[in-house]
């Protein structure tokens, strides 16, 4: 344990999402800590205000609290078909709220494996529990996924300050 700690202190470890470990210098300490802490299931945010929880090769996608507040009461959720291959920034579906149809912008590449069936009866779950019960769809993530363009929750909080 001590040895591993010492090694890491010299070469901060960055673990890719496919489980491979590589050494990366000049990784800021705070980022390194948050990565290692959440290795099992890490949550990331896109600039378009979608979140994705990554657990191994599985990803779950939803919209952030900020996004649901901006949208207002959601009355209809249009989700992708199971089996759809989606790339980053592809339109995955559509959320309708107060007369506006807003695209769901897919945050990470992968294939849709499951959609949240509850949302057809209770679309407002996206408003009440955007980060939990209001998840939108699950994916098998593309191998070798990088999270370079995504933010962890601390970085996202910071990003939100520039949003209004």
């Amino acid at each position: 344990m001590a040895a591993s700690f010492a090694r890491r202190a010299v070469f901060p470890t960055y673990r890719c999402l496919n489980g491979l470990t590589r050494y990366r210098q000049n990784v800021c300490h705070a980022r390194y800590l948050s990565l290692s802490k959440n290795l099992q299931a890490s949550q990331w945010f896109s600039k378009d205000h979608e979140w994705v929880t990554i657990d191994g090769q599985k990803g779950t996608v939803g919209i952030s609290m900020y996004a649901q507040e901006k949208l207002g009461e959601i009355v209809y959720v249009e989700l992708p078909e199971i089996g759809t291959k989606l790339d980053t920034e592809d339109v995955a579906g559509c959320l309708e709220s107060v007369k506006a149809a807003s695209d769901i912008v897919n945050p990470v590449p992968g294939t849709v494996t499951e959609v949240n069936g509850k949302l057809s009866d209770q679309p407002a779950l996206v408003n009440s529990e955007p980060m939990k019960g209001g998840w939108l769809y699950k994916m098998d993530l593309k191998a070798g996924l990088k999270t370079d363009d995504l933010m962890d929750s601390a970085a996202y909080e910071e990003y939100l300050k520039s949003c209004d």
Partner: protein, 411 residues
């Protein structure tokens, strides 16, 4: 989903934002780089009102009176033009049509048989919101802007300001983004489509619409339906021309169009105020494909969210015993996925079973008239005197068929 406003600016050092003391209305001057980042040194100052960058503007008026053509051009502009550098006000009118929102069920929102008999177009928008009736007495306005500059209230304010500056009428905007005449009658309904970077906000403006036909078209004959589709909110409507006879399509488009341009210091010239054929492939390559897609049955009808119908028909008698017929059907992606009939007369139990077997074997078709006709023909053939069915069942079977067909009379 929200490509957030001023993302380009947000990474800039704070000290690049300065108050501009010489500007009126507390406008802010931001020193920003050109939007492309290519010339990082090439800085320029942009005056921003309400912290928004003012893009160039253009007014486009459609020369087509077909709803699909204009909706196609709107979609094309949304998909292909950089709306952050140039904003569009696209206006059009079309011959009578019923237009429902993206997640609506047109059968549930409108009288489709009536519309079909009158030859009206039935369309679906990509935007949210409710079902509307359009005819030549209705002006459609679409503000196409970047997602950052999407602001429904601003667009509605602009229209209200332009119209009330010219005519002495009382227009207000309510919290549903409807424009009201005399604070009571709806003259405009709103809907919007938001993409990652682009957006449009479009709305109707009723100036001399056939209100009687509007009412009839927006009353659906469908009964006993349950659906998760977006619901429309009916409202009492009125025409602007009742208040001010000078208000016509042409006077509205020029007044509003000029106001839209004047906001950024532009004048109406042949370059900034254009009448265009929306299906011009040279200028808008691919627009006819969009128009074709908008006219498909799949987009207009099959996109309706799943729904089901339950109807009860009473007043039948068999061997002097009264009975009722219950019809249950479910529709998924425009196809009749299940059809069940329940006849509550013990004497007709066998017929009940035969009919349900037939329905299981012959449902699954798309809800189009020709498919219903084929179903009807097969049913009549199957339950005819010449078939081996007990003869006394034939007239009852026909009654039950009538109940099934009545349940589908919204088509």
């Amino acid at each position: 989903m929200f490509p957030v406003g001023l993302r380009i600016f947000s990474s800039f050092p704070r000290n690049s934002f300065k108050e501009c003391v010489s500007c009126r209305n507390n406008n802010i001057v931001r020193t920003v780089l050109t939007s492309t980042f290519r010339h990082r040194t090439n800085q320029r100052q942009i005056h921003l009102s309400k912290s928004r960058f003012k893009a160039a503007r253009i007014v486009v008026i459609s020369t087509s009176d077909v709803i699909f053509d204009s909706l196609a051009l709107e979609e094309w502009l949304y998909e292909h033009r950089d709306l952050s550098s140039k904003e569009y006000l696209f206006m059009w009118k079309n011959k009578p049509a019923i237009v429902s929102g993206r997640h609506q069920n047109p059968w549930l929102e409108a009288n489709i048989p009536l519309a079909a008999s009158l030859g009206l177009d039935i369309a679906r928008r990509s935007s949210g919101g409710g079902t509307v009736y359009h005819d030549e007495g209705n002006l459609n306005l679409s503000f196409l802007k970047s997602r950052d500059n999407y602001n429904r209230r601003e667009n509605l304010d602009l229209v209200v300001e332009a119209v009330t500056n010219k005519w002495d009428i009382d227009l207000t905007i309510n919290d549903r983004d409807d424009i009201l005449l005399n604070k009571l009658y709806k003259v405009s309904g709103t809907a919007a489509k938001l993409g990652r970077l682009q957006s449009y906000h479009h709305f109707t403006l009723l100036h001399s619409v056939d209100l009687d036909l509007l009412q009839r078209c927006l009353t659906s004959p469908m009964q006993g339906a349950s659906s998760k589709a977006t619901k429309s909110f009916p409202a009492t409507v009125m025409n602007l021309s009742e208040q001010e006879p000078d208000i016509t399509f042409d006077s509205l488009t020029s007044t509003i169009g000029e106001h839209f341009l004047a906001e950024v210091g532009l004048e109406a010239t042949p370059d900034t105020f254009r009448y265009l054929n929306p299906l011009c492939e040279t200028e808008f390559p691919g627009v006819t494909d969009i128009a074709r897609r908008l006219q498909t049955w799949e987009w207009r009808f099959a996109k309706s969210p799943d729904f089901s119908i339950e109807r009860n028909f009473t007043g039948h008698t068999y061997k002097s015993l009264p009975y009722s017929v219950q019809v249950k059907l479910a529709v998924r992606k425009g196809a009749l996925t299940s059809l069940e009939v329940r006849v509550d007369n013990p004497e007709l139990e066998q017929l009940d079973q035969l009919i349900n077997q037939f329905c299981r074997d012959h449902s699954g078709f798309l809800l189009m008239h020709e498919n219903v006709k084929t179903f009807e023909d097969k049913f009549l053939y199957c339950f005819s005197e010449s078939s081996n069915k007990q003869i006394e069942y034939v007239s009852e079977a026909r009654r039950i068929l009538k109940c099934i067909l009545s349940s589908l009379d919204f088509l």
